[in-house]
């Protein structure tokens, strides 16, 4: 590169890095899309709502009660968010540990989804805690008998690991070779740690409920609930990556210019894994119900039937769809199965924390509109952050130096 060209490159760093190479006016105009409009509206209501919650307290903004202490912010934002962010460790493990190099192309988006998912889960948690500034007490007190102690420590450690993993494309974007080179070298260690920490806290989120057998419906409560939560996290990881990559590859096709990814082949491969794991999970849940002597509850009353809806419609069905789609090389069918599986994981976490919880209470919990709106805002911010990062950093596309090294 001539020095003139290099000078030009330096001078417009902000324009190139932040404004996608457009002039400020041009860039702002490019932001005027319907999607952005809706997202802005959601955030303009949601962010003040969040601040209002800190000002006015939980009673004024949520429908939480003495018998329903955990609502949407814990049940959905934290628990479901963490489950759906499991793609980071599943694909990371697939590529770095199991050696399935062909999934390399979707490893970084999965890690990014994981990183943003955990960040948003933590924000949701902070919104829910009565005195979030006392979170530091986790490190000051010996609360080791508590499952929540382990969850908190693990989530902190894992978010650190994720941020180190995400730091690689971040520093590549900034061209800071001295920072990303050493991080790339320890990627294997980071991946082992990420699988380890994820296994620990994904399962521990389920263990939280072991202490309350009388309050969680017998079809969902089990002393083995930690195994169920871990396996559904793996399912969530696989399925979210299928869904996220099919959306990303369509919307961010510009990032894939210069980079050939056979998304269909990868989707079908993931579909095979999803089929088998969902199949095993279906039978595992049955074993759990029998172990708990709870088969009599199946089909009885609303919750007995709702359990069947969850198991047959959102576990068995996606398993069979995955199987059929993978066998017949139908990536579109696999994607549909992926969506159903993701909905199934959301349903499971929502059921355990809210629907099947405090089930004998006639006064049932329904979230307030403010709780729902704040949740929606957090999801929207996560999506916007994902898009901002993917359009600028080498997440979907190869980093320049790696492409040249090949």
């Amino acid at each position: 590169m001539t020095s003139a060209v290099a000078a030009e490159a330096r001078g417009s760093w902000f324009q190139e890095k932040i404004l996608l190479g457009m002039r400020p006016g041009e860039y702002l105009r490019s932001l005027l899309t319907p999607f952005n409009g809706v997202a802005a509206f959601i955030c303009m209501v949601g962010v003040p709502l969040l601040l209002y919650r800190f000002y006015a307290g939980l009673g004024a903004t949520t429908n939480l009660s003495q018998t329903q202490p955990w609502g949407v912010w814990i049940g959905f934002d934290m628990m479901t968010g963490i489950a759906l962010a499991a793609g980071g460790f599943t694909i990371g493990a697939a590529v770095e540990i199991f050696g399935l190099e062909e999934y390399h192309a979707i490893e970084r988006p999965a890690i990014l989804t994981g990183f943003l998912g955990y960040l948003m889960a933590v924000v949701g948690l902070i919104a829910d805690l009565g005195k979030p500034w006392n979170m530091v007490q986790i490190f000051a007190q010996n609360g080791t008998r508590s499952v929540l102690f382990e969850v908190a420590w693990c989530v902190v450690c894992y978010t650190l690991v994720l941020s180190l993993e995400f730091a690689v494309p971040f520093f590549e974007w900034l061209g800071l070779r001295r920072l990303y080179q050493p991080l790339r070298k320890i990627l294997l260690a980071l991946t082992v740690l990420s699988v380890m920490f994820s296994s620990m806290h994904q399962s521990a989120l389920g263990s939280l409920f072991i202490i309350a057998p009388g309050k969680l419906h017998p079809l969902w409560w089990s002393p083995w609930i930690f195994a169920f939560f871990f396996i559904t996290a793996v399912i969530a990881g696989i399925s979210m990556v299928i869904v996220e990559s099919s959306i990303s590859h369509r919307i961010f096709a510009s990032q894939l210019r210069g980079h050939h990814v056979d998304a269909d082949a990868l989707t079908i491969g993931l579909g095979k894994a999803g089929a088998v794991v969902l199949f095993a999970y279906f039978f595992l849940k049955l074993q759990g119900v029998i172990d708990n002597h709870a088969w009599g509850y199946i089909g009885q009353g609303f919750l007995g039937k709702w359990w069947l809806v969850e198991m047959l419609g959102f576990v068995l069905l996606p398993s069979l769809l995955y199987a059929w789609g993978a066998r017949h090389r139908r990536a579109d069918v696999v994607r549909v199965a992926g969506v159903i599986a993701v909905l199934g994981i959301i349903l499971n976490r929502v059921n355990v924390s809210m629907v099947a919880w405090d089930y004998e209470n006639p006064d049932h919990y329904l979230p307030s509109w403010m709780e729902l709106w704040v949740s929606l805002t957090l999801v929207t911010i996560g999506v916007l952050a994902f898009r901002w990062i993917v359009l600028r950093m080498p997440v979907l596309r190869e980093p320049a130096d790696l492409a040249a090294e090949h």
């Binding site: 202490p69 190099e101 009565g130 202490i211 002393p223």
Partner: protein, 299 residues
Amino acid sequence: MKMRRRTFLKLAGAAGAAAAGTQARAAFGDAAGAGESSVLVDTTLCVGCRACEAACAEANRLPEPPAGDRVLDQVRKTSPTSLTVVNRFEAPDGGPRFAKRQCMHCVEPACASACPVRALDKLPNGPVTYHPERCMGCRYCLVACPFEIPKYEYAKAVPTVKKCTFCAARQAQGLAPACTSVCPSGALTFGKRGALLEEAKRRVYGSPGKYVHHVYGEHEAGGTNWLYISDVDFSRLDLKVTVADASYPQLVKGALGVPPFVMTLWPPLLMGIYAFSHRKREVASREGGKQGGGEASHD
């Protein structure tokens, strides 16, 4: 030192009680939490005066409970401003029965084991106390308690958890809890768990037709320090009878063992898989011929 008659009698009584206590300890010494502070609630003796509520509110600087008997028309639960409530129920013979509700101060408290920052903590002498300066408001204690006792101050911007703390400060000074020290009818007896269990059984078996043959709190949740005896079914007194007869924190023991297990087992397991798959790739690329040379080994 000169000893006065009253003091002598007190000492003699204490010695006798101690002897009886030793005997009680021998019989119930292996009972869980035998040496912990405990209260025996005899609902046949409670007249519903609610002096205990007033004393509790005064000792904890809470608003005065509503006066008069109209309040007894509704079955109340404890709340952030009333750490104990007395409810009225109807017995089969048509007469009223009263039952005091408050924290059960379990021998193995689910709430304290659940609290990740030890804001709820068990004192060795029995009370389950609360440290608001540690509490981060996660409300896991509300999730855990099988008696649904902890109450959260949802209405406040800086909320804390509210429940009876067994007047731990008073107990540290050698005093009885506020509620037991004002009870006029003797429905509340403060003592050590082992001795009170013996007393409870003595009353139950001493008047066979009168009491229900069960000491509520002997085994519930693995044993609680607030023990109840009654002449009507406990379920009629708004006491949860579906509480398991085992310690709730013990339920979690197996699951608590999983994370350290994973920390130990996963690294060698994962590295073994890595080494195995890495070796397979090396072998494959060598067999792949000239083309294979391009495969960089990413570490």
